[in-house]
């Protein structure tokens, strides 16, 4: 029984961390219409940043700053934001393809750099020497994982509430205005490029937070954690859940992560032994089909965006007479 519960806690922690990432992406894509093709780079920046800043000294790679945990996590988030700022500055004035390609490029380059630069982050061996916060007091057991889950859940709720308020605020209306009609927003004296950059950086900082928590959870991060696979998974979560809807984003994260875990388990359990090598390929085909299928048959997702009219125009003349 305790085994099942502890597995559920483990699953829910991962899903909740991914939900935070999907929320960050939702701000970029769902609310602002920015295509981030390199989600994993910003997620990875958060993870690497947190672990390097908060870790103990290691031979051969950067580290040993030993910052207290919250500062390390904030540092990781700042790193993700900084990367987004540079990429956004260069691409957000141009047509949307450029952002898609440049962010995709960032992800390739980030993974490549982490894999090769041993002096920076341990190369293919990954970043070691990170102590999970409060481990001395709580140990490594179930209690720790449960408390960690609660912290992640609280952060997820905090991010959710923050984004809900942001989206309902004048700034949120501005984001949607720019998404729907850039020229109209411009004619009202707004600067689409600057607003987009703000939204892009904010979303990436949230992605960085998710990455930082992910790194903390495993107390380890390596180039294997920043493969493009994760970008696809996070994308699928948002599309299935419903772009533009924060609740949909969280729902999609749990649903897709559940489906991914379940399909991996089923394939490893029931697929013939000679097909085991190909379970990864099969899972990728499934996730690709889910993405394409949703776009073809239900592009608004399972929980569509609720469009609000913030100010109704005058009542039509015909009705006034009644």
């Amino acid at each position: 029984m305790i085994g099942v519960i502890s597995y559920l806690v483990f699953f829910a922690t991962t899903a909740a961390i991914l939900s935070i990432a999907v929320l960050g992406l939702n701000l970029q894509w769902g609310n602002t219409g920015l295509f981030n093709g390199g989600v994993v780079a910003f997620f990875g920046a958060g993870a690497y940043g947190t672990l390097i800043l908060g870790g103990t000294p290691q031979d051969g790679h950067l580290g040993g700053f030993g910052l207290i945990y919250p500062a390390a996590l904030l540092g990781g988030m700042a790193l993700a934001g900084l990367m987004a700022w540079v990429v956004g500055l260069l691409t957000l004035r141009l047509r949307h393809d450029y952002l898609a390609i440049a962010t995709f490029g960032v992800a390739v380059a980030f993974e490549n750099l982490m894999r090769n630069a041993e002096w920076l982050a341990g190369g293919a061996k990954g970043v070691r020497g990170f102590e999970r916060p409060l481990r001395a007091a709580l140990g490594d057991g179930f209690l720790y994982n449960l408390l960690f889950f609660i912290v992640v859940l609280l952060l997820l709720i905090a991010v959710y509430l923050f984004l809900e308020r942001l989206v309902a605020s004048p700034f949120g209306r501005l984001l949607r205005a720019i998404r729907e009609d850039e020229e109209a927003a411009q004619s009202l004296g707004k600067s689409p490029a600057r607003i987009r950059l703000t939204a892009f950086v904010t979303g990436s900082v949230i992605l960085g937070l998710a990455g930082g928590l992910y790194g903390t959870f495993y107390a380890f991060v390596s180039p294997q954690d920043v493969l493009p696979t994760l970008t696809f998974q996070i994308w699928a979560m948002l599309i299935v859940g419903g772009a533009g809807n924060n609740r949909g984003a969280i729902f999609g994260a749990f649903l897709i992560w559940g489906a991914w875990t379940a399909s991996g388990w089923a394939l490893s359990r029931f697929a013939p032994i000679e097909a085991q090598l190909y379970t990864g390929s099969m899972q990728f085909v499934l996730i690709g089909v889910v993405i394409v299928g949703m776009l073809m048959w239900r592009p608004q997702g399972l929980l569509p965006e609720r469009l609000v009219v913030s100010q109704r125009g005058a009542t039509p003349l015909a009705k006034q007479g009644e």
């Binding site: 450029y98 493009p228 690709g288 592009p299």
Partner: protein, 304 residues
């Protein structure tokens, strides 16, 4: 250094071929097609199948052409693959992209192409296995052009370069001299106006996919000749090809050609100063440099 330059030009020849199709699609359908590189692997595997088939049916065609590791069978297989890959590209558009296009916005297309890339790449992996394949198991000996500095060129590489340039010339003639070429350019400039003037939009889009797919198939075969054929080759090629279109300016065919060569040469020259592990990052650095100094590329124009 000179060796790197030569290798770079040869890499550039297949990158250019891949980039031409991509830039045309990005120009006319206005979306960054992340599944274009998968057309290269589709073409490469298609040629592999027909090479084996032709060799089995007509063993006489399996003889090598002079110093090349290329056979008549492979040339024939490549031509078949061009047609089939072009048709597959048109079919994928008809089945997937067209529907997404009619349903959603341009950006949904980018997504759909991400999904399609995953599907195509992994289905190829499931069918052909994950281990690399080669067109010819024989070792291709390089010809020594000079001993000091040591410069080696494989005959296959020269063939690839010449064939690529020839294909680009043919495409240039089609685009600049035929009614079809004018129609294509008209659609890219202004789809509605082109339709008013009697250009069939659906047929033009189909033609773009056929050309793009056909060139991608050749590029895939050439990549296979120079390296090896693996299911994940699309993953490694997608960024260099995108970089080529951005360097050249999205929508410019000549820009894509030049961009392909620039990306190829830059990647190989980078080996002089960077360890080879960093090669995959070079296209990204090029993209950053271009966006910094000339955001619309060498031949591109600003367009919303």
């Amino acid at each position: 250094m000179i060796q790197n330059l030569i290798d770079g030009i040869l890499t550039g020849s297949y990158l250019s071929l891949g980039a031409i199709g991509l830039t045309l699609v990005m120009h006319i359908l206005r979306f960054a097609n992340f599944s274009h590189a998968e057309l290269l692997s589709l073409g490469a595997y298609c040629a592999l199948v027909f090479d084996a088939l032709v060799t089995a049916l007509v063993p006489g065609l399996a003889a090598k052409l002079g110093p090349l590791s290329l056979t008549w069978a492979l040339i024939l297989a490549t031509l078949i693959s061009m047609v089939l890959t072009g048709l597959s590209a048109a079919l994928i558009d008809r089945l997937v992209f067209k529907r997404v296009r009619e349903k959603g916005q341009e950006l949904s297309m980018v997504f759909a192409s991400f999904g399609m890339a995953l599907v195509i790449r992994n289905v190829i992996g499931l069918i052909f296995g994950l281990s690399p394949e080669l067109y010819s198991k024989d070792i291709a000996f390089a010809t020594i052009l000079s001993r000091d500095p040591l410069i080696l060129v494989k005959p296959d590489q020269v063939f690839v370069l010449v064939a690529a340039l020839l294909l680009m010339l043919i495409l240039h003639l089609i685009l600049s001299r035929t009614t079809f070429g004018y129609a294509l350019r008209a659609v890219a400039e202004n789809p509605s106006l082109a339709q008013v003037n009697g250009v069939n939009l659906a047929r033009t889009i189909m033609a773009v996919w056929l050309i793009g797919g056909g060139l991608a198939a050749v590029a895939g075969v050439f990549y296979g000749l120079s390296h090896q054929i693996i299911p994940v080759m699309g993953r490694d090629l997608v960024l260099p090809i995108f970089a080529a279109t951005i360097v050249g300016g999205i929508g410019s065919v000549y820009g894509a050609v030049l961009g392909g060569f620039i990306v190829g040469i830059a990647g190989n020259l980078a080996l002089v100063i960077l360890p080879s592990g960093y090669t995959p990052s070079v296209p990204f650095l090029l993209i950053l440099v271009v966006l910094l100094i000339r955001p619309h590329g060498l031949f591109g124009e600003a367009r919303a």
